[in-house]
């Protein structure tokens, strides 16, 4: 006879956890929770699926499967000539690639803008990638060394023995990036100064900041560009006429500084009075207080606004086309008029390419700013 002692069971190890039932986890649960949680949602989901089913295959066909990747002229992209349906004519973009990137920059000297792009990428990576050390050197490099070296590279310098390339040869992506970079590099510091000036108690600093911000914000960018390029030469003697790209760069930089100033001012206003008083109680002077206490907090708050300005700036660089600077979008448009390439389908390829490039740049900036916000999210969050 066995005793109860012999049948007792002592568990020596835990059972492995069994997975939760299918109804509360896994793909079925996820589907139920997110796509089919109610009758209405189910209907919407089915409608969207149906829509995707209708659109996606055609899109893949147009963009990839039927697309023409290599073409010497528009004939390779006309369905009636090649005898099968033709999607996007990427061959147009491929054939014009160098022109889209460098504009009319002399072919033998294109290593210079290439080096410029490389230097810019190095500078951006140095400042933006967290793991790379010595941010202080990075700042000096990007805001002082890079602009000088970049300028000498692109436009050349007689004294250094680099052949000069006048700015009317610059074009395409190169010019868009130059305008965007100058806009960003100038508008941040200038915008901060204007914002501080506007909140200053010194009457001259305050009123001149207010006048400048309100005057520039009060007119459209197109007007600024038009004044800089068309009206300005009427009022100065011939020898005094700066380069037309330079005039546009100054116009763009001032314009976005005014917007940046208002964004930064929003951040300054969000800092509680106690922060200022605490800094003053520690005996810090105005600039120390601003640089060490106020601005780091204020700028952190307005990162979304600043990046919003950057994205707006990058896209607004396309407006320089109206003063006949051949930026990225304008070179594509100009190429569409080339009789060798002129067909009904070509604008689609050109504009789609432009849209993709601008999207990558702007979305990249937006994603990076979100990661910065997360990294700096130390307080003020309850």
């Amino acid at each position: 006879m066995t005793t109860s002692a012999e049948v007792h069971f002592v568990r020596t190890h835990f059972n492995e956890q069994s997975p939760p039932p299918m109804r509360t986890s896994g793909i079925v649960h996820w589907l139920q929770e997110n796509l089919f949680s109610s009758v209405l949602n189910s209907v919407v989901t089915l409608l969207i699926l149906f829509g995707l089913y209708k659109i996606v295959p055609g899109l893949v066909d147009t963009l990839i499967l039927n697309a023409v990747w290599v073409a010497n002229d528009s004939k390779a992209c006309v369905a009636d000539i090649v005898g099968h349906p033709v999607g996007v004519c990427w061959g147009f973009v491929a054939a014009h690639w160098d022109y889209f990137v460098f504009g009319q920059y002399p072919e033998t000297l294109r290593w210079r803008p290439e080096l410029f792009f490389a230097l810019e990428v190095i500078g951006l990576a140095w400042l933006l990638v967290q793991r790379i050390p010595r941010k202080d050197l990075g700042m000096i490099y990007f805001f002082i060394v890079f602009p000088i070296v970049g300028f000498c590279l692109l436009s050349g310098s007689e004294t250094l023995g680099i052949p000069t390339v006048q700015t009317h040869y610059w074009g395409g992506f190169l010019v868009s990036i130059v305008i965007g970079t100058v806009g960003i590099v100038v508008s941040v510091p200038l915008g901060i100064l204007l914002a501080l000036g506007r909140r200053s108690h010194m009457p001259v600093a305050r009123s001149s900041s207010v006048v400048m911000i309100e005057f520039i914000r009060g007119v459209p960018l197109i007007t600024v560009l038009f004044m800089a390029n068309v009206m300005f030469p009427l009022f100065v003697p011939e020898g005094w006429r700066p380069d037309s790209l330079l005039r546009v760069l100054v116009g763009v930089a001032l314009f976005f500084s005014a917007y940046m100033a208002e964004t930064v001012r929003g951040g300054l206003q969000a800092i509680p009075r106690g922060q200022y008083e605490a800094a003053q109680a520690l005996g810090l002077g105005y600039w120390q207080m601003m640089i060490k206490i106020i601005l780091p907090q204020a700028l952190k708050i307005v990162i979304p606004g600043i990046v919003n300005n950057f994205i707006g700036l990058l896209k607004d660089t396309t407006l320089v086309a109206i003063v006949n600077i051949f930026d990225f979008l304008k070179v594509i448009e100009a190429s569409l008029n080339d009789p060798v390439w002129r067909t009904s389908g070509m604008p689609f390829a050109g504009y789609l390419f432009a849209a993709i490039v601008y999207f990558i740049l702007c979305y990249g900036m937006a994603r990076y700013s979100m990661s910065v916000e997360r990294r700096l999210a130390t307080d003020n969050r309850h």
């Binding site: 054939a95 160098d98 460098f102 011939e238 006949n324 070179v331 100009a334 190429s335 002129r342």
Partner: protein, 338 residues
Amino acid sequence: MKKIIAAAVVAAASFGLVTAASAGTLDNVKAKGQVVCGANPGTAGFGVPDQKGNWTGLDVDYCRAIAAAIFNDPTKVKFVPLSSKDRFTALASGEVDVLIRNSTWTMSRETTLGVIWAGINFYDGQGFMVNKKLNVKSAKELAGATICVQQGTTTELNLADFFRSNKLEYKVVTLGTSEEALKAFDTGRCDAYTTDRSGLAADRLSMSKPDDNVILPEIISKEPLGPLVRQGDDQWLNLVKWVHFALLTAEEDGITSKNVDEKVKSDDPELKRVLGTEGKFGESLGLSNAWVVQIVKGVGNYEEIFERNVGPNTPIQLARASNALWSKGGLQYAPPIR
């Protein structure tokens, strides 16, 4: 907008700013080492960047011809692409030395904007394009047709004039831009599409089925296009004018970029005058006496320029028509170099 610009130009001119800038353009050009041309920002056949970004076109080659005449180097040019609304301001303000940007020569432009035309390098005029299916051979058969046209242009007014003077009924569809008007025609909203003939040829290429459409022979308006300069600098005006005449004379005398070296050796008195082995015609313009040789070597004669950019072997396929030499039934006529 136009009025404001015109007013600004006039105001600046009255302050003496513009006239100060326009004196001695040739000396300025020589000092700068390049001719600054107001150019077209993108019209097929007249001024358009090719695959590598080099500017090509009839107007572009005229600019190169001026550079070749002055510097013996057709590449010493700077193109400032100008939109139609700021082109005259740019010329008046001295931003460009010469404007060669298919600009129509009209009386009001010459009398109010402070500019002066140096010649007509392309006789253009408004025409019609119809679908082949209509089986129409002449614009006068377009009675009752629906016609697509761009809004607010002289094109629209010419259209009305033409149909009224021929006592024909028509319906008009006006659209905001030339692209929209072309699109409407392409999708069958209209029976015919009208714009300048040089534009028609290029527009035909952007249609979904270019070969299904034909351009009708009638020209219903005068659109003389040509290079223009600022008023008040006759030396520069003469130079631009005679570069144009030199291109025509070279064609007339059979001087091409290929045979110019042989022709220089010729004993023919006309050729000797034109090619500068006799007389001082180049010097009187402030150039070297071999100026015509330089031009023809650099860009060819008028025929070569025409055939290269807009002629029957290009996608634009324009016939010489009014732009043939006077001796061949056209309107292009150059006074003699003597």
